[in-house]
Amino acid sequence: MDMSIPLAEQQNLALLRSKTKTVDTSARVMKDLSPRVIPPNLDEMGQNAEGNSPIGDLDLLDRLGLAKIRLPAVDAGVLTSQELLRMVPIQIWEGEVLGVDQDAGMMQVLLSAKMGEVPDHTAEISLEWVVEQDKDLVSPGSVFYWTLYKEIKRGSIINSQELRFRRLPSWSKNQIERVHRAAEQLFARINKKP
């Protein structure tokens, strides 16, 4: 047992790994989508102590305004930082959940590409592909990122993808008050007697 990973996380991972599916193939390597843990030397945002992240093309992510999204995490002790440098996003879809059909185990989503001139698409995604720690976030209106990326690992090109939900900011008391004030003002302006 790896003592650097909290017990609850390890139990979660064990459960999810038992559901591991092969979802993507390249000519040479098959890759699964099982959730992976963050290396001990990186924080939750995938950054090291200096605030740098070795994962993916961060300049590109910055330009896309996605620096704050949780980046693909990797197996502790498996990949070195140099190998991580070779993970390159091919497309990042920002998704919005339009509807959830719990009976069918599906969510209907709207997908907007963050790279290139690609039109919006809609799709249906099985809820089984949502990692356990994100399941509470799945509801109409919630936002996720579907990242397709490739990594070059020990000379092999591995195509992979990841679906992660964004933890949206929450309403504060101050914001709620501002909304009510703005509505009062708008109502007064609209109904102003000449």
């Binding site: 979802v23 993507d24 989508l33 091919i90 497309q91 919005e96 339009l98 509807g99 209907q108 989503v109 709207l110 997908l111 690609v118 039109p119 919006d120 698409h121 809609t122 799709a123 249906e124 995604i125 099985s126 592909w129 976030l137 509801s139 109409p140 209106g141 919630s142 936002v143 579907w146 397709l148 195509n159 993808q161 679906l163 933890r167 949206l168 900011p169 929450s170 309403w171 504060s172 008391k173 914001q175 709620i176 501002r178 909304v179 009510h180 703005a182 509505a183 009062e184 708008l186 109502f187 302006r189 609209i190 109904n191 102003k192 000449p194």
Partner: protein, 358 residues
């Protein structure tokens, strides 16, 4: 697609419906260069509001637009609306009466860019539209039975009247909006889900003096609300029957009521509609098309182009490993135009872009 040809003559009335796979806009010419606009969508090529682009192409003066109606707040009907309002500063803005209420405005403010900047859809456009109109004191609200425009054009009295929303429908819509108004801190700021069924939409009846148009917006029929209320209202049923119908709610079954065709329209009218491709909803379905075809002389859809994904094959193959039914939201773009001289019995029909006859 920009070759719309010449604009209508002074003695011609015209109805033009624009639509990509997700979006709807309408321009109506009442004669003598007098226009009304209903809703807004974006032209996918030039990113302009479709009706603004159209009016510019055919050389309409800004002062010619008399009223701009936002029939309801859904994203597919309001994209570009604030820009449209800016382009026609002398126009009066009309909004569903449901928003003449503090709770509805709180809903609009909550999801209309004050706080939830990244998580807004139609609410943001509508918030800007309402704020601008409110400042300029030219906002009016539409209720069932309210006359929105009345003027003599070409010696004929032209009347635009709202058939909805009714008082009961507004109350129902408000109660649903209220559930999404943030009340407690700590809850996530999400996109606002679309509220269904659509009961707050503004249905318009346009009387040309000897003929009429019925614009069904996205109104649905829901128990004794929606179309059922209109069909039980003498103010609506006593109006001139329309020879042309913009089919409600993208031709869906929920937007259908037999009484519309029996009471509000002449026998075998011509019809037009926009598609709706989003999520698991793809309207009109084949059954919807069949139902519509049985009641009209002809029906036209603004866009019937392929919904095939526009994603590189290799990426699509990978995406299909965990997703299905991946389709393009905007399946092309097109416009359907009905035009005739005042007093003429039949409409001339022209199709542009990806528009087609059903």
């Amino acid at each position: 697609m920009s070759d719309y040809g010449a604009g209508p003559a002074s003695n011609q009335v015209e109805f033009t419906l624009f639509g990509p796979g997700y979006g709807e806009a309408i321009a109506v010419h009442l004669g003598d260069g007098c226009w009304i606009l209903v809703d807004s969508c974006i032209h996918p090529n030039n990113k302009q509001p479709a009706s603004l682009h159209y009016l510019q192409q055919i050389g309409v003066q800004a002062a010619g637009v008399k009223i701009i109606v936002a029939s309801h707040w859904h994203d597919d009907h309001v994209r570009g609306l604030s820009k449209l309002a800016g382009a026609f500063p002398s126009a009066k803005f009309i909004l569903s009466g449901v928003f003449n209420n503090k709770e509805a405005l709180t809903f609009l403010c909550a999801y209309g860019s004050i706080i939830a900047k990244a998580q807004t859809r139609g609410t943001k456009e509508l918030f800007e539209f309402v704020s601008k109109a409110g400042e300029e004191e030219k906002l009016e609200f539409a209720y069932g039975g309210k006359i929105l425009f009345e003027e003599t054009v070409q010696a004929r009295k032209m009347t635009v009247i709202a058939f909805s929303p009714t008082t009961k429908a507004q109350a129902k819509s408000l109660s649903r909006m209220a559930t999404f108004i943030p009340k407690a801190e700590g809850l996530p700021i999400t996109h606002v889900p679309e509220l269904e069924p659509n009961l707050e939409a503004v249905v318009l009846h346009i009387d040309f003096g000897d003929d009429a148009l019925l614009l069904g917006s996205d109104l649905e029929d829901h128990g004794d609300l929606g179309w059922a209320e209109i069909l039980n209202d003498n103010i609506c049923t006593g109006r001139r029957k329309a020879t042309s119908y913009k089919v409600a709610h993208h031709g869906s079954k929920t937007g259908h009521a037999a009484g519309i065709w029996l009471t509000l329209l002449t026998a075998l009218p011509i019809a037009s509609l926009t598609p709706f491709n989003r999520g698991s909803s793809h309207l009109p379905t084949d059954k919807d098309k069949q139902r519509i075809k049985e009641t009209v002389s002809a029906a036209y859809l603004t866009s019937g182009a392929s919904k095939k994904p526009a994603i590189p094959n290799e990426q699509l193959k990978r995406m299909l490993a965990i997703g299905k039914n991946i389709v393009k939201v905007n399946s092309g773009f097109g416009a359907v135009r009905f035009r005739k001289e005042l007093g003429a019995p039949a409409w001339d029909v022209e199709l542009f872009g990806d528009a087609l006859k059903i």
